[in-house]
Symmetry: C2
Subunit: 251 residues, 2 copies
Amino acid sequence: MKIGIIGSGNVAYHLVKMLKETQAVQLYSRNAENGLQVAENFSISFENDSQNLIENNDLIILAVSDDAIEKIAQEIDFADTIITHTSGIKSMHLLKSTSSNYGSFYPLQTFTKNRAVDYQTVPFLIDANNEQTRNTLTNLAKKISSKVSHVQDEKRSRLHLAAVLVNNFSNHLFALAQDYCTENKLDFDLIRPLILETAQKVMTQNPSEIQTGPAKRNDKKTIEQHLSWIEDENLTELYQLFTKSIQQKNR
Amino acid sequence: MKIGIIGSGNVAYHLVKMLKETQAVQLYSRNAENGLQVAENFSISFENDSQNLIENNDLIILAVSDDAIEKIAQEIDFADTIITHTSGIKSMHLLKSTSSNYGSFYPLQTFTKNRAVDYQTVPFLIDANNEQTRNTLTNLAKKISSKVSHVQDEKRSRLHLAAVLVNNFSNHLFALAQDYCTENKLDFDLIRPLILETAQKVMTQNPSEIQTGPAKRNDKKTIEQHLSWIEDENLTELYQLFTKSIQQKNR
């Protein structure tokens, strides 16, 4: 199957890397400079004309930012070519007007250029407006990963919220912890192994069953001591709110 | 060197496991049943009498809960025997009245019985009331880990706050995400690989430099959509506060 990828960001970069081993892959990007760079990096062909991309390929993957999906869908006519986006939150039905075969092809993972990911372990969430398209997308995902599931449009969007909690929010907690360390001349590297082990534990255990800490055991003295050390107002509020939430969940 | 460990919890369990390869280790616990179980598990001797433990050993490690440290220090006379606790937050000076040689021996990691940890990568934070004791504790820690540092008493307590943020609070975020998944009949296993990759990224990158998500790009539509799906009041407040904090940090 010949696959056209639109985009040049982190997801487009990794999709090219995932797919080029087993498929013919072409790339198109409105940002031609970035697009060319990705194409050259993986020695695949860069297509300057979006209409050519559609005519030359059986399936188009729209690996662009959430905001760009609707715009591109309106600008480009995909006719019968299978078109899918890679968004966590956006409905696949945004693509309804642009092709009779559309779907969603969502790799539920965080991607950065130049950082290797074990694709076999990446959950792919697939849906489509008809069974044939869904099968095509599912079979494609199975060439990349062993964790492919059919997840309906709205369920995928709802899962995206959980992804925001465990990725965006926990990463921000790490950032606040690093700021606090810097302000107090503490070495954040001493904290890093704990971040990894905390995550590794959750691979095999349920987080609610392994909760520990001053909030859990209602250690008021430590909680007060901690709060006296925090200068960032948002972190103070977060500390209080986490303490309340942990206590209510565990009482 | 002969080492006596007091305690039978997760830290005591792992200290026995860490130390018994290279040292003579004895265990004492006020909870004799649990203590015996740990001792039998690692084929070391269990000592019923705390005074015998002190007389038989060169160094006593108090691997007990924070609240128990002061109590045990008051009840037992350690004379000149080196005594150290393993607490993140408590001052080593709680041990001042009980021995002329005291310190802190803090493995900055989360431990669970029966879960293997690569001890070589565990940061050990060491301090003591005199140089000789500090050297003894440092040399002992170096037999276990390659990451041993002298971190002064108050600095260690302050670091413990950062540990609470990245361990207790991120684990609670994971627990809330799992609750949300359960309520919405979503498969939390689809989220687990993202938790691990988020942590792994922070091993080599600074979290503030890799922040992404709707809050970071001020995607109001997604933020509103997410908030409409959350039913837990504390999670609603946390979502709003994280969004505000991320936006203020990244503007």
